[in-house]
Structure formats: structure tokens, C-alpha cells
Symmetry: C2
Subunit: 204 residues, 2 copies
């Protein structure tokens, strides 16, 4: 009951993360019945996206391709502490850490986590690029903070990275895991409580 071109648009929109057929149809109908300028501008922005935005040549964060050296805003910022490198799984995780304003070092974005069941193995991770950063004598790194998520895949990735990176000399640390701020012990899962107990700290 919809024109072929509109159905093709629905199928493309349904590839967005978390978007099913119904939501995709809602977006498509909005785009073809609301102000046509919206579809036009969005079309232009998407058509130019690959040429304008790409991974930072150093850390893998998203960067303006026209920036000097292809560096992202964080790698290009001289006020960031280059001696600490925070390794995250995805750009979204980097943005969450930035919002906390608790970290002023640099990043490395893996782009994926170890997931043997989905066929993502150690050789699929950008380990060599990460090691090359740590070996660069011009920019000494003294600490690598592993900030992959506290999930099965994230923990496996952190374990692998710790083993691979420790011989390079930098101190390897891991994000603390425990009961979240404002969280209720009653509703915390047993693994989280177990970790919060195992990693308990002295009260100064």
C-alpha cells in the first residue's frame, strides 16, 4: 500500500540501531509528508558524511576529515594529558566519559569488543595501532586505563589488553566496578554486589 521508493526508504531506515519496521515506517511517512526541506537537508548531510567525517587517524574517535593531520578534537587539544590513555569500546562510551568531566587524558577507540561467539577475535581488534601509540617515544604514555564495559565481552577484552599491553611498560588500570551512584542495594544484581564487596576500599 506504499510506493516502492517509500518502501525502499523504510527498509533503509530499519537498519538504524533499535529501529524496527513500524518506527521506520513512521520516520518515512514523516519525511515524505512533512516539510520536504527536512528530507532534502538530511539527504545532503548523509550523502556528504563519508567524505566529511571519519575516524581520527590517531585514536579512532570521530573526526572532521579536513582537520590538520586528520586528528579529532581531543587528540588535537594540547591541554589534554597525553600521559594517560583511556581505551574504550565505542565512540558512545568516550562521550559518556567526557560528560563525567572526570578524565582529562587521551583516548583510544577499539571500535569493537572481543566476542568469540560472534566471530570477533583478538586479530580483529586494532591491537597493533594501540601498541604503536604506546611505543611512540615522542609521546610517552605512563598509564593505560581500560574502560571497556563490565560485560562478558568487555571483561574479556580488558583481560586480553592487559596481557598484551603490560610488557610495554605503562601501568594498566581498569574502571572501578560496583554499585552505581544513587543505586539501591535491593535492586542491584548479585554480580555487581559481589564486585562491590571484592573491590571494597578503606574509608579514610
Amino acid at each position: 500500500m506504499l510506493p516502492d521508493k517509500l518502501q525502499a526508504l523504510v527498509r533503509l531506515l530499519a537498519r538504524l540501531p533499535g529501529v524496527g519496521d513500524k518506527t521506520a515506517q513512521r520516520y518515512a511517512l514523516f519525511l515524505c509528508t512533512a516539510d520536504p526541506a527536512i528530507a532534502r537537508e538530511l539527504g545532503l548531510a548523509l550523502a556528504g558524511l563519508e567524505a566529511e567525517v571519519g575516524p581520527c587517524t590517531r585514536c579512532g574517535h570521530v573526526a572532521d576529515r579536513s582537520a590538520a593531520g586528520g586528528l579529532c578534537a581531543i587528540c588535537a587539544d594540547p591541554r589534554r594529558d597525553g600521559s594517560v590513555l583511556c581505551v574504550v569500546g565505542r565512540v558512545q562510551d568516550l562521550l559518556s566519559i567526557e560528560r563525567s568531566a572526570a578524565y582529562r587524558g587521551r583516548y583510544f577507540v577499539l571500535g569493537r569488543l572481543l566476542a568469540p561467539l560472534e566471530g570477533i577475535r583478538a586479530e580483529d581488534l586494532p591491537l597493533e595501532r594501540l601498541k604503536a601509540l604506546l611505543r611512540d617515544p615522542a609521546r610517552p604514555v605512563t598509564e593505560v586505563l581500560l574502560a571497556t564495559p563490565p560485560s562478558v565481552d568487555g571483561e574479556a577484552t580488558a583481560l586480553l589488553l592487559a596481557e598484551e599491553l603490560r610488557p610495554l611498560g605503562a601501568r594498566v588500570t581498569r574502571l572501578a566496578s560496583g554499585v552505581p551512584h544513587g543505586g539501591d542495594l535491593e535492586f542491584a544484581d548479585p554480580v555487581t554486589i559481589g564486585r562491590a564487596i571484592a573491590h571494597r576500599r578503606g574509608v579514610e
Copy 2:
């Protein structure tokens, strides 16, 4: 912390219905980190949308602009019963009625409902186009089924349409309103129960 072009894309995506900044950012990061073919194809589909899909010249449903007479698939289908015309608010409502397979007549899509508080008045509805359809001697319409939603705006629109269309001779009917199929009386709102009682039917 995101390149300007990516931030512009986030702002455009946030104009989609039901999409906030967080979801728009998720879509934008997916589009610039996943397979670039997705962004490219979506960009092409959106850039061409206005030229390829537009409102049906007769009923206002979405139609392939290259179709004969600019008619949608329903208006062009000779098997549909042209003597009944179902008036809906939005294309989505037409699609819901089509999925029920309970209706084989034609449609008229208003595109908006009467909403005085938002400044949408009678003169903003395509009343003249609707009346012209009903006056066409080549395609006599004997029944107009008002299928605007049972909301305040939908009811106001149905009342206005009933008044305007009754003098044209066709029988004016309204979708039944009552307890939905599979619905639980315990959780039905008082207005729905009130309508189900007021519109009760004899059991044959």
C-alpha cells in the same frame, strides 16, 4: 566533542518524530562508523524522495509521482468500491485500516485534524477538495465513513465534516467507539466505557 558536520546531522535526525538528542546521536554515530554504504544509500533515497513520492492527486495518500494521473495504488485499483469514502486524519491511520482488511472502499486523507488551540481551523482542512470528490457525477459516493480518531480533535473534526458533508447527499457514518477487542473492562477508561454503553447494540 563531535565534528560540526556530525552535530549538524544529529540536529537533523532529532527532527524525526519521537527522536530526542540521545537517539539522534546514536543514529548519527552508527551512520558514520558502520558500513558507509548505509549512509550513502539513505542519502540518495532522501535526496530523491520529494521528486519520487508525493500526495495522491485524488485522495492525499502517498503515491508514486510517476504513476498514471498521480494516483495512489488504492485510487488506481479498479477493484476498490468507489461508492464508500473513508476520511482519515493521517496516512498512518489509512494503513491501520488497510491492515484490518475490513474495508474495501476508497479513502480521503485530511493530513491534519481540527485543533483550534494549535491554530488549525476549518479553513486549514482540505474541505473543498473533499466536497469536489463527493460532487463528481462520474464517481457517485453513497457513504462517507468518518474515521478520524476518537480523540477531542478527531471528534471535533468528525462533527465539522458531518455538518459540511450531509447536505451533499451521501450517508455520513462514524467508526464505532467502545471497548477494544481483548480489552479488559477493569482497565478501560470511563469515557470508553460510557461510549460502549451509550452505543450498545442488540444481540441477534
